[in-house]
Amino acid sequence: MIIDHPLLGPRDASEFIYLGDASLLNRPKWDEEKSENNFYKYLYLRENVAGMHKELWFHQQGDRSWLVISRNTVTHEIFKVELATEFKKNMGKSND
């Protein structure tokens, strides 16, 4: 697989480490009433998508940036690669 890094261009997938669903960016608040339940959902309940999936990759042997990659899990086609920091900022809100 080739990942088109937004800063470094196309890089081999072996330089990256996979983490999983990009929903990990939506960390719940700690001081709400149902926070324990929210954290449980955040950590353990995931969609198992056959198709378009946003996921987190870390450029371990590169510039150490976390990327949000939009990938079709069936065809492995990659549609978009974004820096996680940019992605998170564009989500328009901080979760703290």
């Binding site: 324990e36 954290f39 987190l56 870390f58 976390w66 065809t75 492995h76 996680a84």
Partner: protein, 980 residues
């Protein structure tokens, strides 16, 4: 007969003789031969025994699709099993032997299997070896493995190396036949970066097998002329002897290159290409009829290859059997070489007449081949059912041609049926844009069609790549056409008709699978093994599907096809491993004091990738315990030092650095003053302990975090995740400085004396001004930048001194010199471990991925007044039961009884059952300080059980013992030494 046995061909050098040995007998071939062509030229027909029935088999094809002629190549130091005689290039002194036969190829005792074939058809193993179940492993499998199977490994290591390499290009061309060469020529002229890969050891593909004219030249001369043009272009790389074994995502291809006369045996290339053209040609298929597996029966096109490319001219009494026009090219070439052609058996009613000299048996089929070890003749039957016997030595079959689209399936694209050529072509649905089939591989079976298709497709690619083609010219050739009638198998006769020669799958087996309801192609394949093995059914798959279609009264496209998977040709595991073996399997990291330690008698232990000194053997120490006990005693009574550079160091800076640290540790950091260090406990988001370490606040916005050695990478990655993915708005910057700073622990009651001697005068390290948990940036030895931390892992008065890595080796030598009076010693990881167990510090063995802060008696450290990673879920009920596991110390009742890590803990009166299990031992050692073995472990409700006696069981070692539960802090529980 006056005909020479070898005729001239530009691709062999009959003047350069090569001698070789096959099955113990010496033969001669010539330069340019494959093992197969040399054997055929020597009239060796019987090459191998078949996989299951041990039937005699000969050479069937002339390429990597060979199902039969598998041999073992014997090298000086190892054997190479399952080598295809049809692809092995002959060299002087080659030694090969047949495999899967005993005691000899001619008299194979296992051919008795053939007599029992009625009982060992498809699914035989599944049905027969069902019971008793334990018989499978002990009896059935070993016997079956011995009887069936392919070659044997010599189990000796090849002393040649394998390597890996990476290549990048704009266009990858797979195959160098007419289409591949034209594509490479046109694309190369345009200036884009091109790689053309050829599986064979010569370029030219099918053109090497032909004798017609291209642009008034022989095909071989034309190949050389265009290659000459291509090789002039520096942007084109031509690689022969290389098979592309797989296509992977995003234009990545794997290819295996075999090297001759090199210390490197093979290179596994990973080729990444923007575009790729599959110019892999097409493969001929067989026609099943009774006994169609006898040596002497070959594919029609392969006879032509041996005749034209390799000049094998000792074919005699040749008969051909076909349903298409291509076979007549073979017929004409045989005649022009003066070979006795019996005729062509054509299934068609009105085949085109190519030459009146060719005797054509039209509307006829071969019903049976005759002969025992070799073909002697055939019975043919015509439309009205008249049976004729024809004597022949060789039979060339052609059931039509399959575009060689193996690679096009690798990304999951299903092939599509083409009614014009009666074959599957590369699928167009959801096709990745990376690979397109061209020419014969695209179902264009005449040379002029091939050339036009190649031109069209390569121009499309250039336009996709926004490149303009330069002026080029195409070769001139005579119009050709290709006609075929579908004819899949001979229905007449009840004896076995082979479909898959390698796996001994017959028409009957397919019928049986169908009768037993294994009717989907995927089931059929697995039940009969059709299309498996080293040839992956390249000559047999489509024929098998056609038989299934005829049984189920469906069309072939309705039956469907299985997908080809990588690899296209077998490759050894060694090829994939490359040079990553032995010491090169992973990198080795050496500590900054490694060489010094080695010279001082250290032995080393692996910690992750690091090699660390485990102890320093001195004179008269003939057991490691003597060294370790001495090192511990020296530190506890005087002073010692240890290289702790391997611990992870992460530099954290920025306006929000304090807040960041406070969020990644579960305990409070908000009030950590400048110049102080604090112990930090890091949780995973699920509340389990991830790592621990210390973090020092060097200045307002500058922190230095340490991690355990093994988690240095994963903690750093986690922190980057926290910063980039959770809190990108924070002003904080992280960098790993593990390699930049060496860190030396100096521990023992006399450590301050040592520190005072090296720290520059302006810095006060008195207990008052540099107390326990202080930190400061200082200079030592007259101006060398350093960082001093008063932290202790051993429980003694201790410091850790950080200096730029390049000074570490000089520093330890200097410490030895100035510490002479205090009898300073270096200590290794073993003494370090003993002292941390004596002090009850948790380490890797305790932080095992299942342990919570509660388990470590640190539950109260988890602040619920702030947000931190893992805080919320660490409060889960299940992690906070009162009778949960707690870290405890254990002392054996008899001091000289060793406690073993991994042993489990039980109440004295309880039976040793999983239900009564109360916990386990994590770390144990001999404590020279307490003069007893001691251990750390987790015990249910352990904090309330100090003083209790407990039973220790290790069923694996068959050991049982008794110990007393105690405070895990064996030495100086009030921490007076630390603060001294």
């Amino acid at each position: 007969m006056t005909r020479p046995t070898r005729t001239k061909s530009s691709l062999i050098n009959t003047n350069k003789k090569l001698s070789f040995v096959f099955n113990g007998k010496k033969y001669e071939g010539c330069q340019g031969d494959t093992l197969a062509s040399a054997l055929l030229a020597n009239d060796v027909k019987l090459i191998a025994r078949s996989f299951k029935y041990h039937r005699p088999r000969g050479i069937f094809t002339s390429g990597s699709h060979e199902p039969n002629a598998l041999v073992e190549i014997i090298h000086d130091d190892y054997n190479e099993p399952n080598s295809k005689a049809t692809t092995v290039e002959l060299y002087e002194g080659l030694v090969a032997k047949s495999q899967n036969c005993w005691p000899s190829l001619k008299y194979d005792l296992m051919s008795i299997n053939d007599k029992f074939s009625k009982f060992i058809g498809a699914g035989f193993y599944y049905k027969t070896f069902m019971w008793p179940s334990f018989f499978w492993e002990k009896v059935y499998e070993p016997v079956i493995r011995k009887a069936a199977g392919l070659g044997k490994l010599s189990k000796n290591r090849n002393n040649k190396n394998s390597e890996k390499g990476f290549l990048y290009c704009d266009l990858l061309i797979i195959g160098s036949g007419p289409s591949g060469l034209i594509c490479a020529y046109i694309a190369g002229l345009s200036g884009i970066k091109v790689i053309i890969v050829e599986e064979d050891y010569v370029f030219g593909g099918s053109l090497n097998n032909e004798i017609f004219k291209i642009s008034n030249m022989s095909p071989q001369a034309w190949v050389q002329s265009i290659l000459k043009e291509i090789r002039k272009l520096s942007n084109v790389r031509c690689i022969e002897n290389t098979s592309v074994i797989g296509m992977f995502d995003h234009g990545a291809f794997g290819a295996i290159q075999k090297l001759k006369e090199s210390k490197i045996e093979q290179i596994f290339w990973k080729i990444v290409s923007k575009k790729a053209l599959l110019c892999s040609g097409s493969l001929e298929r067989l026609i099943p009829f009774q006994n169609n597996d006898l040596p002497g029966i070959m594919l029609s096109g392969s006879i032509r290859s041996y005749l034209n490319r390799w000049g094998v001219n000792n074919f005699d009494k040749v008969l051909l059997f076909t349903n298409n026009d291509d076979t007549y090219v073979t017929a004409l070439d045989l005649i022009s070489n003066g070979i006795n052609l019996i005729g062509v058996v054509d299934t068609r009613d009105n085949p085109r007449i190519f030459d009146p000299k060719i005797k054509v048996f039209k509307s006829s089929q071969i019903v049976s081949a005759k002969g025992k070890l070799y073909l002697k003749g055939v019975d043919i039957v015509n439309k009205v059912g008249e049976l004729t016997h024809l004597k022949c030595d060789y039979l060339g079959i052609s059931g039509g041609w399959n575009p060689n689209i193996h690679l096009s399936c690798h990304t999951g694209v299903r092939p599509e049926w083409n009614e014009k050529i009666y074959a599957f072509v590369a699928g167009k649905k959801n096709v990745s844009t990376h690979l397109k089939a061209v020419g014969s591989a695209n179902g264009k079976f005449s040379l002029n069609e091939c050339i036009l298709d190649a031109e069209k497709q390569v121009l499309e690619i250039l336009s996709d790549l926004e490149t303009k083609p330069k002026k080029y010219s195409l070769p001139k050739i005579k119009e050709q056409s290709f006609e075929i009638d579908p004819f899949w198998f001979v229905k007449i006769g009840s004896q076995r008709k082979w479909v898959d020669l390698q796996n001994d799958v017959t028409v009957k087996d397919i019928e049986m699978a169908y009768t037993e309801n294994f009717r989907s192609v995927e089931h059929l394949k697995r039940y009969t093994t059709l299309g498996m093995g080293t040839d992956q059914g390249k000559t047999s798959n489509v024929t098998g599907l056609a038989i299934l279609a005829s049984l189920s009264n469906k069309s072939i496209p309705d039956v469907g096809t299985t997908l080809f998977r990588p690899p296209y040709v077998p490759l050894s595991i060694e090829a994939l491993v490359g040079s990553s073996i032995g010491k090169n399997f992973k990198p080795t990291r050496l500590t900054p004091t490694h060489n010094w330690a080695r010279d001082y008698g250290a032995s080393f232990t692996e910690t992750g990738l690091w090699l660390r000194a485990e102890w320093y053997s001195q004179k008269n120490e003939n057991h490691w315990r003597m060294s370790v006990d001495r090192e511990v005693n020296s530190v506890r009574n005087s002073v010692g030092f240890c290289d702790v550079s391997t611990l992870g160091k992460i530099d954290i800076q920025g306006k929000d650095a304090l807040e960041f640290v406070n969020k990644v540790y579960c305990n409070g950091f908000a009030k950590l003053p400048v110049g102080k260090v604090r112990y930090g406990l890091m949780l995973r988001e699920d509340g389990i302990v991830m790592d621990d370490g210390t973090t020092a606040r060097m200045s307002e916005n500058h922190f230095i975090m340490t991690t355990t050695t093994v988690n240095a990478e994963s903690v750093y990655r986690h922190l980057e995740f926290c910063h980039q993915c959770l809190w990108p708005e924070m002003d904080v910057h992280l960098i790993s400085t593990t390699d930049a700073w060496a860190q030396i622990a100096i521990a023992g009651p006399k450590s301050r004396k040592i520190i005072s001697k090296i720290v520059d005068k302006q810095f006060d390290v008195s207990n008052k001004n540099f107390p326990f948990m202080a930190c400061k940036e200082i200079t030592i030895c007259g101006g060398v930048l350093a960082r001093l931390f008063r932290i202790s892992f051993s429980g003694e008065l201790a410091y850790e001194l950080s200096i730029p890595t390049q000074y570490a080796s000089s520093l330890v030598s200097y410490l030895m010199e100035i510490g002479k009076d205090e009898k300073i010693i270096p200590y290794g990881t073993e003494a370090l471990g003993v002292m941390r167990i004596e002090k009850g510090h948790a380490a890797g063995a305790e932080l095992n991925g299942t342990i919570s802060a509660q388990n470590l008696n640190m539950g109260k450290m988890v602040s619920n007044k702030k947000d931190s990673i893992g805080m919320v879920l660490s409060k889960r009920e299940g992690l906070n039961t009162l009778d949960g596991l707690r870290l405890v110390g254990l002392k054996p009742i008899k001091a000289n009884h060793q406690l073993v890590s991994g042993s489990h803990l039980f109440n004295l009166s309880d039976k040793i059952t999983p239900k009564n299990d109360l916990g386990y031992i994590t770390s144990s050692c001999y404590s020279p300080t307490l003069k007893s073995y001691i251990a750390l472990g987790f015990l249910k409700n352990g904090s309330n059980r100090h003083g209790d006696k407990i039973k220790i069981s290790n069923p694996i070692l068959g050991k049982e013992d008794f110990a007393e539960v105690c405070n895990p802090i064996f030495v100086d529980p009030n921490g007076e030494k630390l603060r001294a």
